[in-house]
Structure formats: C-alpha cells, structure tokens
Amino acid sequence: MSKLKINNLSCQRGYNLLFENLSFELNSGEVLKISGPNGSGKTSFMKILAGLHSYETGSVEYGDAKINSEKYNLDFLYQGHLSALSPELSCLENLKYIAQLGNNNHNLDFSDALKKVGLEKFENELVGKLSAGQKKRIALSLLFITQSKVWLLDEPFSALDSKAIKIIETRVEDHCNSGGICILTTHQECNIKNMKEISL
C-alpha cells in the first residue's frame, strides 16, 4: 500500500515565500484537492512533488523511494499546465511517446484511451490542428493507460467542457477505488467522492 507523506514543506521563489510548513498524509485510495488564489504556490507544489522544483525545508516521503529515483518517477504521473503534445505529431504518435516516457507497464491500447475521451476520429490528426480543449483531452487520455500510482494533475479541467470534466472525475474516482492516490489543483467545482481539500 503506497503512502505519501509531506512534512513541513516550505517553498520560496525569488524573494517570495509561497508556502511554509505544509504537512499532510495521503494513503492509498485518497484524493486531495489543493485550492488557493493565483500565485499561492499550487503549481510550484505540484512541481516539487513531480521532482521538477526544489524546496527550502521539509521532506517528501513516498515509501523508501526518494524524489527523482527510478521507482519514484515510475509511480508518479505529472500533468502540468502544458499539454506535453507536439503539434507536428498526430494524437496517436504523441500519446505513444508520452506513454513511453512515463510508466512502462501500459495496457498499450491507445486507440481505446482516445475513444474514452471522445477523440476516436482524431487518432491520425495532427495535434497542431486541434482546439485547446481537444489537446487537453488527448493529454488526459493518458490517465486511461498509465499504471502510475500517484497522479499529480495541475488544473486538469481547464478548457474542458462539462462532459469531459465528468469523464475525468469518474476516471480519478476509479483510480482511487483501485488503490491509487490523486492530487489535483483546480479553481473549478469538482464532484469527486471522498475528496479531501487543503488551501494554500
């Protein structure tokens, strides 16, 4: 059973102290929503957990795995503001490459993942020709193939319509029901069952 423990975490960017002494614990099956005004450090916190940013004080504990170790990177899936899609590649090509970079134990049914987010007709379409909402859907279709245990979703609902938001909420619930952990930041209302919430 995986467990994520954050102890007295503080983060400073330049001369600005974004947050300090942030502590919480998440066990398998739990989902946490991080809220707060713009510039409060939500994205910085997510990037710290992903291993992209450093932090001033405190610690991040995930079993025996250290941040940026191979096991840690395998178990964590990070989806930031940027969709991580190349406009010159098709939806399928993008998805295959990003999946390859992430957790290797995929079901590898990329077409099915695109179908689940309503983009089955766009498999071979170049990403550069799609709308912002469709790009977001492709990025989030990775949630249907990854086997990472901890999901870090930064503003996953931005640019999505209500139908797509419902699909992603259901997927997050399914992931947590099967023992996963999810941390998400959003300014929007979301209806995920048993969701914890903290504010920065």
Partner: protein, 221 residues
Amino acid sequence: MNIFVQTMTRDLKMALRNPSSFLNPLMFFVISISLFPIAISPESQTLSSIAPGIIWVITMLSVLLSLNSLFHYDHDSGVLEQMVISHHSLPLILLAKTSAHWILSGLPIIVLSPFLGMALFINTEGIYILILTLIIATPCLSLIGSIGASLVVGIKNSGMLLSLLILPLYIPILIFATSAVSQSQSNLPIDGQLYFLGFILILSLLVTPFLSALSLKISME
C-alpha cells in the same frame, strides 16, 4: 535503448514535417559560402587558401543557428518536463535528441561540402580531408552545443547568449580542422590534428550528455 531510438525517430519525424527548422540553417550554409568568391576574389589561388576556414566557420555558424530549436519547441510544449521526470535516463534521451540534430544539421553539410569545396578550388586531397574533419567534428558541434542549448532553454531570444557561451568552446575544433585541411592541400602530415579531433569527439560523447542533463535540470527550476 528503446527510448533512444524512439526519441530520435520522433525528432526526425517532427523535423521532416516542419522542414524550415533544418532547411533554413542549411540554406544559410550554401548561400554564405557562395558569396565569398563574389566578395573576395574569384581567383583559384586566393580562394583555395582561405576555403577551409570559410567552410568551417560557416559550418559552425549554421550549426549554431539550428541549436536554438534543439530544446526550444519541447520546452514550450511541456514535453521537456516529461523527459526530465521520466524514469528513463535523461542523458540517453538528450543524446538521442542531439543525434537527431546532427543528422539534420551536420550530415547535410557533410554531403554538400565536396561540391562547395570544389567551387572554392580545394584540391581532391583537401576535399577528402575536409569531409573527414567534418565527419569527426560536426557531431562534436552538436554535442557541445547541446550544453549551451540546455542552459538557455527557458530564456526568450537567447541566440546571442548561446553564441557567446558556445563559440569559445568551438575554437579548438576550428583551429585543428582548418589546419588539417590546409596542411593536406600542401601534402603535409595531418595525423596530429585528426587525433586531436578524434579525442574531442570521444570526450564529447562521454561527457556532454551528462552535462546537458545537469544544465537542463538547473534551467527547469
């Protein structure tokens, strides 16, 4: 090793679908070299003595032009973030990207160089050595350049900064490569220059992927 092949294939595919990214530096290479006979002198003696220097300087500048795009697009799209936090080896991924960059920037220059060498009146022996120095040293240009490109990846309009960082590191390659071609035209031994270029290639292959990975992590902070 799979990630190496996949990253290189992906970069080549992307470049072929957006050909201006690698054709522009190549056009710069051909046009710049073809201007020298007009500007200096069309005489064979004058041109053949300065041709190795012209070709090598323009090669460096055109590689430098293409270096900006090495990480820039992936940084803007967010793919670079995913590469940094991937469980795969970051130096291996960056080596794959640099190899794709060499195939798109260095390899076409090697193919074009005999024709441009002939246009600048380099003799047959000199052209063979020019090709040999380009084969050994253009990978070094991409590998060393990847360190600079990873350091300035988050900075807008970083072309000048990249030149200031990288050009001084290219100077030893320039000295030994041009000296090898010039001396071969006079039938002088060039073993020393070729050994030195070979040493830089091996050193670059062993060290630069790790330095690029380190620089990239610092830039992404």
